[in-house]
């Protein structure tokens, strides 16, 4: 990284917006913050006096809590709003909601919303920092960064690693941000899943697409499962969860094709027995819970960087 490097982003919207220097710097910052969570008093005054609003239009326990813990460990004041996505039908638009919040002078608004691009839209109307905690099927940047941090921690580097992402690529903002992020950092991303769940142009994002899961996993350094929404069966995207588990599920037989020390990852929550067997999820290679731990550190880093904490 250039000695002159400065992190210069007001918002966290999409991994596409970051350079490799930016991503390395965020991970490096997160690594330095990780230690705070191991102290007996897990709090530093870094963001004292800053106001952060968690605006979640979709149910999410872990991401919301992860951001909240991150903010509180930095001494920021946090407020949670779980708004219904149907607020528009009640007469208030997202822009109105956020303008009202803005009038209370928060420093950052963390938003999770079912519409792709909604965090981008907000930046046109408000002056607070906007942090995307998952927008539709677009991106989930903090998740991608915590995934990269976890892999880097275990493997020491990202460059040249083979990362296999298996499952519902189309509807996964985690997959989208990880494809962009890992590729940017020099890893080779390979994807596979039912063709009904692989969107057109995924190769344009930098991923190699495989017909068979085995090919994607073969020789992989990292194998990442994605959550399958049960309602996808109703959309005729998969015939049944049983068949999905048989054909696309990650099990120990499949894992034998990966490198012996391959990491097993999943953004959670896992449908045990569907996208991943319990045996795999709980194996020694699994870093699923470390992803969660690193999530707090990454979110502390992001808040620190966009809020210019001292």
């Amino acid at each position: 990284m250039d000695a002159e490097y400065r992190f210069n982003h007001k918002h966290i919207l999409s991994i596409d917006d970051f350079s490799t220097d930016d991503l390395s710097f965020i991970i490096q910052t997160a690594e330095s913050f990780k230690e705070i969570s191991t102290r007996s008093i897990k709090k530093v005054p870094t963001l004292r006096g800053k106001t952060i609003i968690n605006l979640f239009f979709e149910p999410s326990t872990r991401t919301r809590l992860s951001f909240e813990i991150a903010a509180k460990r930095m001494s920021a004041d946090t407020f949670n709003i779980s708004a219904s996505t149907s607020s528009a039908t009640k007469g208030e638009t997202l822009i109105d909601t956020v303008r009202n919040l803005e009038a209370m002078r928060p420093d950052a608004i963390i938003i999770r919303h079912s519409s792709s691009g909604s965090p981008h839209m907000l930046t046109r109307y408000i002056s607070s920092s906007v942090i995307n905690a998952g927008d539709g099927t677009h991106q989930h940047p903090s998740q991608a960064i915590l995934d990269m941090m976890t892999v880097k921690e275990k493997k020491g580097h990202l460059k040249g690693l083979k990362v296999a992402i298996i499952g519902d690529i189309t509807h996964s903002r985690v997959a989208h941000s990880n494809i962009v992020g890992f590729t940017k950092m020099g890893a080779d991303v390979h994807v596979s899943g039912p063709r009904t769940m692989v969107p057109i142009g995924i190769e344009d994002m930098g991923a190699t697409l495989h017909r068979s899961v085995a090919d994607a996993v073969s020789g992989a350094d990292v194998v990442m499962g994605l959550r399958i929404q049960k309602e996808r069966q109703q959309d005729s995207l998969i015939p049944s969860l049983r068949e999905y588990a048989q054909v696309f599920g990650i099990n120990s037989t499949l894992m034998r094709l990966a490198k012996p020390d391959a990491l097993i990852m999943h953004p959670g929550p896992i449908n045990r027995g569907v996208e991943m067997t319990a045996e795999v999820a709980d194996s020694a290679q699994s870093v699923i819970l470390e992803q969660v731990t690193n999530g707090v550190a990454v979110r502390m880093a992001l808040l620190y960087l966009v809020l210019g904490g001292e």
Binding site: D16, G117, G136, T137, H138, Q139, H176, G201, I202
Partner: protein, 424 residues
């Protein structure tokens, strides 16, 4: 009504094979004479050196939103926008609230339109309430003044109903306008399907959603022998299908809109809802194919698909925002870009925006034939201006062209010998 002499303009009238610099006299609401030797008393003489005098432009695909959504547009405000864009006549789509599906509704529109700044030709609905299940009273609507039938805004998904609609409209010699969209494929989509929609996480609308229905309606036109007019064509393959059908003698006409030859899906940029429309903006190769279709006559008409929406419908999350853009005031300027880039010539422009639209829906106008109604548009092909929000005449401002520097516009619009817009 004061006689008008349009002097020294370049008179372009493809129907009569005229392209000459001369003087056109409008008298008693009619095109009276070219290069008259004497003038009636009190004639207003307007010097139009360097400008084009063409038959009044006709936009056969316009949403006027009245009744029901007058906060977006009214017949009056829409007609004013039309006049400002150089249009002397528009055909308005029936997907108002309620839908134009009865003689009374057609009469109500025509009655409101009497005082409007352009001629308004209502298009009736194919199905009752536009719900796509049973035929609306097309005969009554025709008698009341409907010039064509469509459920535009939505496709007629039931192929049998579409067949019957074509057959029934055949009794009256008017076309069915097809909104070609296979809704099972386009459902929930908000932009063109491809690498860009994947990257943006927006559900895409594949090209096939349009092409399947274009093919179906061409097949039904062949089957019934009835004229179908295909609205807002946006894809390369649709152009090919229409080209082939026309070569086989299929009774079809087709239109595209200026945004389909001026913009690609890239205009969606950072989730700009002003670039959200249906069919969606497509790819570079589609834009090229649309231009070729206009050039070789596969596409007969340029129509704006003027679709006003207030900020209430557009300042929303991308997937929730309304489809459509206004277009009456930019249509001509964007089409003139095709002339400047040598894609089409001046004669073709007039055909695409005046004589062919008249022919497609069997409307009067479209030529400067002596004795015809005095509907005339004067174009300054070199006028430069910036399209600005506070100068938009339409009640809604939803245009992706705001802020664009445009060249060429209508400077005088005359309907039945009466000036409805003047910016000389």
């Amino acid at each position: 009504m004061q006689p008008i002499l349009l002097k020294n303009g370049r008179i372009i009238d493809p129907v009569n094979g005229i392209d000459m610099v001369g003087n056109l006299l409008l008298h008693l609401a009619k095109c009276a004479q070219i290069n008259p030797s004497s003038l009636p008393e009190g004639t207003r003489e307007i010097d139009l050196t360097g400008k084009w005098v063409v038959p009044g432009l006709i936009d056969i695909h316009v949403h006027l939103r009245e009744p029901g959504e007058e906060y977006k547009e009214t017949i009056e405000s829409g007609a004013q926008a039309a006049a400002a864009g150089g249009f002397t006549a528009v055909a308005c789509m029936p997907n108002t609230k309620p839908v134009l599906d009865s003689a009374q509704m057609i009469e109500a529109v025509l009655s409101k339109a009497q005082k409007a700044a352009c001629r308004v030709y209502p298009v009736g609905a194919i199905s009752s309430h536009g719900q796509g299940s049973t035929l609306a009273n097309m005969g009554e609507m025709f008698a009341a003044g409907a010039v064509a039938f469509t459920d535009d805004g939505l496709p007629v998904s039931d192929s049998q109903l579409m067949r019957r609609a074509m057959e029934y409209a055949g009794n009256y010699g008017v076309p069915i306008i097809s909104h070609s969209e296979e809704i099972g494929l386009s459902r929930h989509g908000s932009m063109n399907e491809g690498p860009m929609s994947t990257r943006m996480g927006i559900i895409g609308i594949p090209h096939a959603a349009e092409e399947i229905m274009v093919y179906r309606d061409l097949a039904l036109a062949e089957l019934t022998g009835q004229h179908v007019h295909l609205a807002h064509i946006s894809t390369k393959e649709s152009v090919s299908l229409i080209r082939r059908a026309k070569a086989n003698g299929c009774p079809v006409s087709a239109e595209t809109a200026p945004h389909y030859f001026s913009l690609t899906e890239k205009a969606v940029g950072k989730y700009d809802t002003y670039a959200k429309m249906n069919p969606p903006l497509r790819m570079d190769y589609d834009v090229e194919a649309i231009k070729e279709g206009l050039q070789d006559g596969t596409l007969d008409v340029i129509a704006s698909d003027h679709a006003p929406h207030s900020d209430l419908e557009k300042e929303l999350e991308f997937d929730r925002a309304a489809n459509g853009i206004i277009g009456l005031e930019t249509s001509l300027s964007l089409a003139l870009q095709l002339v400047r880039s040598n894609c089409i010539d001046e004669k073709k422009l007039v055909e695409l925006m005046s004589s062919n639209p008249a022919k497609a829906l069997g409307l009067p106008g479209g030529s400067l034939t002596v004795g015809n109604m005095a509907d005339v548009t004067v174009i300054d092909p070199l006028r430069q201006y910036t399209y600005q929000r506070d100068e938009v005449v339409s009640r809604s401002k939803n245009s992706p062209f705001l802020g664009w520097n445009l060249t060429g516009k209508a400077v005088l619009t005359i309907v039945g010998g009466k000036v409805t817009y003047e910016d000389l």
